[in-house]
């Protein structure tokens, strides 16, 4: 067994242990406070924990399947996220071909380029080629009403759901000296830090939250939850330095940046939901809402984490 596999196994055991603990707490809470299923908060907590099991199993399968598995998993995530996003934006008949191209041309090419490890073209494919070609496709239909608004929304959807999200599997293309064959652990590091930050912000907020941090955007987020969540997720990230190419203090700094980006990403995506008048992006994951509800913080932190790691550690 290689060192990377061994580390992955240790991580999975750790995450599995935490989920067992979470499920037990959820079970005890249900028995004590909501035996008939009437307490909404507890039912939601248990639905979330169940969904976490499913997500962890899915990610573990993708990791076992290797590079192609991870790429397929994130290509699917991009597809489902784009579908949620496009459902909520203003589209007109005239956008039909542009949107079809986003789903069936841009998204697959973006991931094929990653699979082929063509970093140069991958890194500009959506921001340059799709950016210029999508409005050209849309303009062919001759419908000028709300034109800038419409093309900007489709553009944004692509950047967030496809380009930014694909920076998670893009971590596999980095070539870091003395870290060969272990890149998948960088994905695990990123996902664990972001998601534990989200969960811990929720837990700290539920336990000690008093002061709302952004009342107009997200009434459930509090200053106490933010500070507690970011601090504890940074500690978790630092303690995971052994799976990364970083020293413990570098891992802490990275985790801190990841959690900040994740937090603000969550706020940005909340602002869009508020504007569109919805509470969740969709219903894909029971207890969590849509896929974007779970992915928003990952999407914002992944490109920054990718580029910091690439700039300071990677040869490519």
């Amino acid at each position: 067994m290689s060192a990377a596999t061994l580390d992955m196994l240790k991580l999975l055991l750790g995450v599995g242990g935490i989920l067992v603990l979470a499920s037990s707490i959820g079970y005890v809470l249900k028995q004590r406070l909501s035996p008939d299923g009437s307490n909404g908060a507890i039912e939601n907590l248990n639905a979330r924990i169940k969904a976490w099991w499913a997500m962890v199993v899915l990610i573990a399968i993708a990791f076992v399947a290797g590079r192609v598995g991870v790429l397929l998993l994130f290509a699917f995530c991009s597809f489902a996220a784009l579908r949620e996003f496009i459902t909520l934006i203003n589209t007109r008949r005239g956008d039909h071909w542009a949107i079809a191209a986003a789903f069936f041309v841009v998204l697959p090419i973006n991931y094929v380029l990653l699979w082929a490890e063509q970093y140069g073209i991958y890194s500009i494919f959506v921001p340059v080629y799709a950016f210029l070609l999508m409005p050209i496709i849309a303009v062919m239909r001759g419908d000028t009403r709300d034109f800038l608004l419409r093309i900007a929304e489709v553009q944004w959807a692509l950047m967030i759901c496809v380009f930014c999200a694909s920076h998670v599997p893009a971590l596999l293309t980095l070539q870091i000296p003395d870290y060969e064959g272990r890149n998948v652990l960088l994905i695990a590091f990123l996902v664990i830090v972001v998601q534990s930050s989200d969960v811990l912000q929720y837990v700290w907020g539920k336990l000690f939250g008093r002061t709302k941090i952004a009342p107009t955007l997200s009434p459930s987020k509090t200053v106490e939850g933010f500070i507690g969540g970011v601090a504890s997720a940074t500690l978790i990230g630092a303690s995971l330095w052994w799976i990364t190419p970083f020293t413990p203090s570098q891992a802490a700094l990275m985790s801190f940046l990841i959690t900040l980006m994740g937090f603000f990403g969550g706020l940005v995506m909340s602002a869009i939901k508020r504007d569109r008048g919805v509470k969740d992006w969709g219903h894909l994951i029971e207890g969590h809402g849509g896929l974007i509800d779970r992915l928003d913080s990952v999407v914002f932190s992944a490109p920054i984490f990718f580029h910091l790691t690439r700039y300071w550690w990677s040869l490519t």
Partner: protein, 215 residues
Amino acid sequence: MIRDLTAKLASIAIMMFARALTAARAIWHETGLPPKQSIYFANHSSHGDFVLIWAVLPPWLRERARPVAGAEYWLKSKLSAFIGRDVFDAVLIERDPAARTQDPVEQMTAVLNDGSSLILFPEGTRNQTEARLLPFKSGLYHLACRRPDVALVPVWINNLNRVMPKGEFVPIPLICTVTFGEPMHLKAQETKDEFIARAEAAMLALAPPSTEDDA
């Protein structure tokens, strides 16, 4: 035998495709699932409408639900006839009164008498106008008179017209919902116009508030 198997496989494939494209989700009325035998009546804006209703129904309701469709459209080619008749077991009715050999209401009543459910689109044709709903045809009323015991379930299909607008041949993936309303029955002494108005209102009540135009 082979035809049945192909039809079964085709129905699974079509349903999986519809689900992948639309992540279709049923929103049931607070009174729960519709009765086993029902007449589902829905808004009609796309050829995929009945597929979506079919896809969100639980298997024990789905297996007895037969869509009502225009014969001239579904019998146009061998493939569409196979899909209409074998895959979806559609009740094909002749929409042009001059060409009719059978009374559509008789046909539909016979199907109900067999114990099946019906999926029908009382607007009679696909709505390609800006209006939310076209005026209903009277078939729903006549059906309700013949079988007053069968529940009529209003259904609103949301967003499918954006998935594949008229004249497009590539569908785009968008999330669709199928909302089921409270089952209704013909009231004693209710006139045709009163009943049709009530059915239209029941269906419109399920539509999401219109905030933007999806023209």
